[in-house]
C-alpha cells in the first residue's frame, strides 16, 4: 500500500503548476462571488440552506471543467512520456498509482471547493443571513461528491486513453455533452415527442429518470431533496434524493472502475 507516496508526490507537483492555480482560482472565485452576491440579489430569507440553489448554477458550470481539466492528464501524461515506467519499476502496483493520483487530484479540487464554500457561507451569514448549519454541511458534502464525480471522470478518461490527445478529446466530449448540450437535447426530445403526439406535456417519469442521470441534474435533485427547506422532489421514488445520491456514487465508481480494468490489462510499452 504505497498510494500515499504517490499521492503526496502528485499533490506537491500539481499544486505548483500554473494550470492548476488558474483552474482552482477560477473555482474559488465563482464560489466566493456566489456567496457575495447572493445576500444582495436574492429575495428574503437569506439562509445558508437556500444559498445552495443560488450557487448551483455556478457550480454545475465550473466544477465539470475544473475537475476534468485538472485530472484528464493525471496518468496519460506520464504514460505518454514514459515516466510512469519509473513509478511502476518501484514497488507500486498500478492500483496504488491510480489511487494516489485520484486522492491527490480530488483532494486538490475538494480542498479548494470546501475552503471557498466555508468562506462563502460566512459571507452569506454575515451580516443579515441565517446559519442553517446542518443543511449547509449536507450541501457541502454533496458538492464535494459532485467534485469527486468530475475528477473521477477526468481520471477515468486518463486511464482509458493511450495518448494525451485522445484523453483531451474524450474529456472535452464528456463536458460538452453533459454541461453544454444535454439540456438542449432533452428539450428537443420533449418537443419532438410532443409534436409526434407520443407524450403530452412532460416526459414520462421513466424517461425523466433516464435523461436525469446526467451528473449535474442528479446533483441538483439531491440538493433540492436534502438541502432546500420546504421542498421535496415530486414524483415516484426513483426520482427522489436518495436514489440521486446513489446515482452520484455510481458516477464515481462506475467509470473509474471500468477505466481501471482497461488500464490494468493494457501493455504499457
Amino acid at each position: 500500500m504505497t498510494w500515499e507516496v504517490i499521492a503526496r508526490q502528485d499533490w506537491s507537483v500539481t499544486v505548483e503548476t500554473r494550470s492548476a492555480k488558474v483552474l482552482l482560482g477560477l473555482l474559488v472565485s465563482v464560489v466566493l462571488l456566489a456567496g457575495y452576491i447572493y445576500p444582495i440579489a436574492a429575495p428574503e430569507p437569506i439562509t445558508t440552506a437556500r444559498f445552495s440553489s443560488f450557487a448551483m448554477g455556478g457550480l454545475t458550470l465550473t466544477v465539470p471543467f475544473v475537475g476534468m481539466l485538472l485530472s484528464y492528464g493525471a496518468v496519460v501524461d506520464e504514460r505518454e512520456s514514459g515516466s510512469i515506467l519509473l513509478s511502476l519499476s518501484l514497488p507500486h502496483s498500478r492500483r496504488d498509482v491510480v489511487l494516489g493520483k485520484f486522492l491527490s487530484r480530488t483532494g486538490l479540487v475538494t480542498a479548494a471547493t470546501a475552503g471557498s464554500m466555508l468562506v462563502a457561507g460566512a459571507l452569506v451569514v454575515y451580516p443579515f443571513g441565517e446559519l442553517v448549519l446542518g443543511r449547509f454541511l449536507v450541501f457541502l458534502g454533496l458538492t464535494v461528491l459532485f467534485v469527486v464525480v468530475w475528477c473521477g471522470l477526468g481520471l477515468a478518461v486518463s486511464l482509458a486513453a493511450a495518448t494525451r490527445r485522445r484523453a483531451l478529446v474524450l474529456g472535452f466530449g464528456l463536458v460538452f455533452l453533459f454541461v453544454i448540450i444535454w439540456e438542449a437535447v432533452v428539450d428537443a426530445l420533449t418537443i419532438g415527442l410532443n409534436a409526434a403526439g407520443i407524450v403530452d406535456g412532460e416526459l414520462p417519469e421513466t424517461v425523466q429518470f433516464l435523461v436525469g442521470l446526467e451528473p449535474s441534474l442528479v446533483f441538483e435533485r439531491a440538493t433540492t431533496g436534502f438541502v432546500l427547506p420546504g421542498e421535496s422532489v415530486a414524483g415516484p421514488w426513483y426520482l427522489g434524493e436518495w436514489v440521486a445520491l446513489g446515482v452520484l456514487v455510481c458516477w464515481v465508481v462506475g467509470p473509474l472502475g471500468l477505466a481501471f480494468l482497461r488500464f490494468d490489462g493494457s501493455d504499457l510499452s
Binding site: Q9, G82, D267
Partner: protein, 308 residues
C-alpha cells in the same frame, strides 16, 4: 535460490512473435548478460519481468514471486533501469532519488546516491534538463536505492560515453560483490564480455544460447585461431597439421602482404605450440605467427547469423 525463473514465456503482438517460449534461470549472485541485436525481444522480456507487458503464454518469477500476479512483491527487492522511460517533469535529480527512497521505504542519503552515480553537482537541477547520459545515471541511482537483491537494467550504457560506461561497469561489479544479482541487456558485446558470468543470446524472440563466455567459446570449437605465415607450402602440410591432436581445422589463408602463403588453424589453446613444432619438423619455416581469440563478436555472429 533462483533470482529469475522464466518458464516458456511467449509474447505475441497480433501475428508478430516478440518472445518465443523463453526458458531462463538466473541464479542468485550471478551477473547475467542478455544479449541480442536490436528488436530481438530483450526489452519485451524485461517488460514482462516488470509487468509493463503481460505475456501471451508462460510465466516468470522473481525470487519466487510471480511477476504478473504478485508484481509488487516481485519488485520489492529489485532495482530497475527500464527502457523507454523519461524522467518526471518538474522534479529535480535529488527529488527523483527521494521519491525512490520513500517508495522503497529505504534510508539512503540522496546526495550519497547521486555522488555514486556521478551527478551530485546536478542534484538540484530539474531532471528534464539532463542529458540522456545524466538521466541514465539518475535512474541507475534510483535503482541502487535500498540495496536491492537484484538489478534489472535494460541497455544501461545507452547515452553514456566510454568513461561513463566504464563507471557503470564498475558500479555493477561493486553491486555484484555486495551480493546483488545483476541482469542486464545489451547489444554491445564488449560490455557483456567484461562483466558477465553467463550470457544468454536472444534472436528473433528465441533464446538460442545460454552459457558462460568460456563455454560459448568451447562450443565454438576451442575458440583459438592461429594465423601462420610460412615461406612455402608443400603438399601434405595441411594434412600433417590436421593430424596434430587438438586441431579442428587447417586451411589455406589469404596470402600475406609480401606474398607468402598463410595457414589458418583453429585448435584448442594447448595445441598451439604443437602445431608450430610439427611445421618445423616438416621442414616448413614459420615467417610469422599470431593468434586470434574468438571474440564474443564472432560467437554472436555465429549464433545470430547477423552483424549488429
Amino acid at each position: 535460490m533462483v533470482a529469475i525463473d522464466a518458464d516458456a514465456v511467449s509474447k505475441r503482438y497480433g501475428t508478430e512473435t516478440a518472445l518465443d517460449r523463453v526458458d531462463l534461470e538466473v541464479k542468485e549472485g550471478e551477473t547475467f548478460g542478455f544479449l541480442g541485436p536490436n528488436g530481438a525481444g530483450k526489452s519485451t522480456f524485461i517488460n514482462v519481468l516488470l509487468d509493463f507487458v503481460t505475456p501471451s503464454q508462460g510465466d516468470v518469477e522473481i525470487f519466487g514471486h510471480d511477476c504478473q500476479r504478485e508484481g509488487v512483491a516481485a519488485r520489492d527487492r529489485i532495482g530497475v533501469l527500464p527502457e523507454g522511460y523519461s524522467v518526471f517533469e518538474r522534479l529535480t535529480g535529488r527529488q527523483h532519488i527521494e521519491y525512490a527512497i520513500r517508495s522503497k521505504d529505504a534510508d539512503d542519503d540522496p546526495i550519497d546516491v547521486l555522488d555514486r552515480v556521478g551527478i551530485r553537482e546536478a542534484a538540484d537541477r530539474k531532471a528534464t534538463g539532463y542529458s540522456k547520459g545524466m538521466a541514465q545515471r539518475l535512474v541507475l541511482g534510483m535503482a541502487l536505492v535500498g540495496q536491492p537483491d537484484l538489478l534489472i537494467l535494460d541497455e544501461p550504457s545507452t547515452g553514456l560515453d566510454p568513461n561513463g560506461a566504464a563507471e557503470m561497469r564498475q558500479i555493477l561489479r561493486e553491486e555484484n560483490e555486495r551480493g546483488a544479482t545483476i541482469f542486464f541487456s545489451s547489444h554491445i558485446l564488449e560490455q557483456v564480455e567484461a562483466v558477465c558470468d553467463r550470457v544468454g543470446i536472444l534472436q528473433n524472440g528465441e533464446l538460442v544460447a545460454v552459457d558462460t563466455i568460456e563455454g560459448l567459446r568451447q562450443s565454438m570449437g576451442g575458440g583459438t585461431k592461429l594465423v601462420i605465415t610460412v615461406d612455402g607450402l608443400e603438399n601434405g602440410t595441411l594434412e600433417t597439421i590436421r593430424g596434430v591432436e587438438g586441431v579442428e581445422t587447417a586451411v589455406n589463408g589469404d596470402e600475406s602482404s609480401n606474398g607468402d602463403p598463410t595457414i589458418e588453424v583453429t585448435c584448442t589453446n594447448d595445441a598451439k605450440m604443437d602445431v608450430v613444432v610439427e611445421l618445423h619438423g616438416a621442414g616448413v619455416d614459420v615467417v610469422n605467427f599470431r593468434t586470434e581469440e574468438a571474440s564474443l563478436e564472432d560467437m554472436f555472429i555465429e549464433y545470430t547469423g547477423s552483424r549488429r
